[in-house]
Amino acid sequence: MKMSNPQVFQIQEISAHPGPVPGLGTQRAVQVCKYIDVTTCIGCKACEVACVEWNDHPFRETTFDDTYQTMPSTDWNYWNLIKFAEDERDGNLMWLMRKDQCMHCEDPGCLRACPADGAIIKYENGIVDFNQNNCIGCGYCISGCPFDIPKFNQKTKKVYKCTLCSDRVGQGLEPACIKACPTGCLHFGTKHDMVQIAGLRAKQLQEHSGFANAGVYDPQTIGGTHVIYVLHDINNPERYGLPKDPVIPPSYTYWKWLAKPAGLLMAGLGVLAVFFHRVAVGPRLPQPEQPAPVESQPDPIEAKRKEQP
């Protein structure tokens, strides 16, 4: 999605882009953040509908698999999904509902993995956005993402995901899902403010609601995210289907940015090596060598001169 407001959308990182990012450092954008309080989510799916509506996704078939979930996972044209998990607390049923969508990672694994120049862009405000015009449909981003977010469209051979409503944010509006939420469990603002409010909420849960382990999910293994959660139990994010310590596969970090260029360099050196082998050692000719024509036979005078310094 193309942004209109350069003050909110200074590009910070570009996938597979050799060289500097144009305009980087000329201005500083405010860091945006979505804060989701799972403890007040009622599973109404208003945000799901809002997302489909705003992004003009067609109504589509869903998959019923004996849960309240609309479908098993997000899809290329269904970016926002409430995940329902049945859990236990003090011997009673505890229903966990979490709004699943792109986390807009500070260190985005999708962008690290992408081999196409400009297919994935990270703005200084923290939004990670896909540009399908540049996407080559390799699907590497899918394996780079710790949250299983990018989804492949078999028809267009491109990958899609939540944009954090960059088109709305660019116009100074909140994301559509935020606007639709009836309980106020979704918030949007600067990262600083959201972390602050989420922290207060977690403290409240600890002190007044008996959730001693309540806390803020903002995983530092990937530098934090621009979508943060308050969870009842921060020690077990897996209960909500969130990885405890999300990581980007080393294939897309160390291998891609260290070992790969090294391999390329070796290949270049290899070409030079055979070239200089030819220059210095020379070819292996069929033996006995056929006498060269007189004019190209070694000159006896020059041959003597070679021995002198």
Binding site: G137, Y140, G144, V281, R284, P288
Partner: protein
């Protein structure tokens, strides 16, 4: 090798020889029949296409140079697995065709031991036990076999990476690259050895023939097997023949104008 494969190879060679021709002139030996030559170039072309389209996606520094060749990034991504698959298929036939001469032997171990002498051209003639392929060629062949298997497995995983587990794809990504680097290293050496490093080699893949001198120099045991002559003796005889001729020419020149040639 099972006899059905051998029968298949035999038939393929015969059929190819019916369509194509190989002219063997005096002082030459047939090295590669039509079937082998055609296969070699099919493998080579599909390999280069795979290499270029693969390296376009391999590194951000090559992306913008190499993707336009194939009509943009998305097209490159689309074509690469098909190039790769074509390579795999053609190489499979070459694998069967060459399996017997590529079998590893004791003499190949000895060849590898003196690889330093080989690269520095220490000896003008190869050791007498070097057969149709030398140890280096066999190493390259088996490296391609290994890479080919790795390419195929990891390639399928990467082709349909939207359905395979994340870690499996991430591991395949690295292995596919390693196989490519191994192939590239071999490829550079292979081209050099087949052209500039050993004159007279390249035509064996075009015309199918080599000179006898080439044969006793680079593959003496093979020379002996096909001609029944001893490579060392043939070499000495050729040397004598050459110096005799030189001397004859010099004498003739002296007679002609009574002057001494230096």
């Amino acid at each position: 090798m099972s006899s059905s494969v051998e029968r298949f190879d035999e038939r393929a060679r015969r059929e190819a020889d019916r369509v194509g021709t190989t002219v063997v002139r005096r002082g030459e030996l047939l090295r590669h029949p039509v079937y082998t030559r055609v296969l070699h170039w099919l493998v080579a072309i599909t390999f280069v296409l795979s290499l270029l389209s693969g390296f376009a996606i391999y590194s951000p520094w090559l992306f913008k140079f190499l993707t336009p060749i194939f009509g943009g990034g998305a097209m490159t991504r689309f074509l690469h697995p098909w190039f790769g698959l074509a390579f795999e298929v053609f190489f499979l036939f070459q694998f069967l065709n060459w399996l017997t001469p590529m079998m590893w032997r004791e003499s190949d171990r000895r060849w590898l031991k003196r690889i330093k002498a080989y690269t520095t051209n220490e000896d003008k003639l190869e050791p007498a036990d070097v057969g149709f392929f030398n140890g280096g060629q066999k190493v390259y062949f088996w490296a391609i076999v290994l890479s080919g298997v790795l390419f195929l497995i990891t390639g399928i995983l990467l082709w349909f990476d939207d359905i395979f587990p994340r870690w499996l794809v991430a591991v395949s990504y690295v292995i596919h690259d390693l196989a490519a680097l191994l192939m590239l290293a071999g490829f550079i050496i292979h081209i050099y050895e087949g052209t500039a490093a050993a004159p007279g080699t390249f035509r064996s893949m075009i015309n199918g023939t080599v000179s006898e001198r080439w044969a006793w120099t680079h593959h003496p045991a093979w020379y002996k097997a096909v001609t029944g002559r001893d490579p060392r003796e043939s070499y000495e005889r050729e040397r004598r023949r050459q110096s005799d001729r030189e001397r004859a020419i010099q004498e003739w020149e002296r007679e002609q104008d009574g002057r001494d040639v230096p």
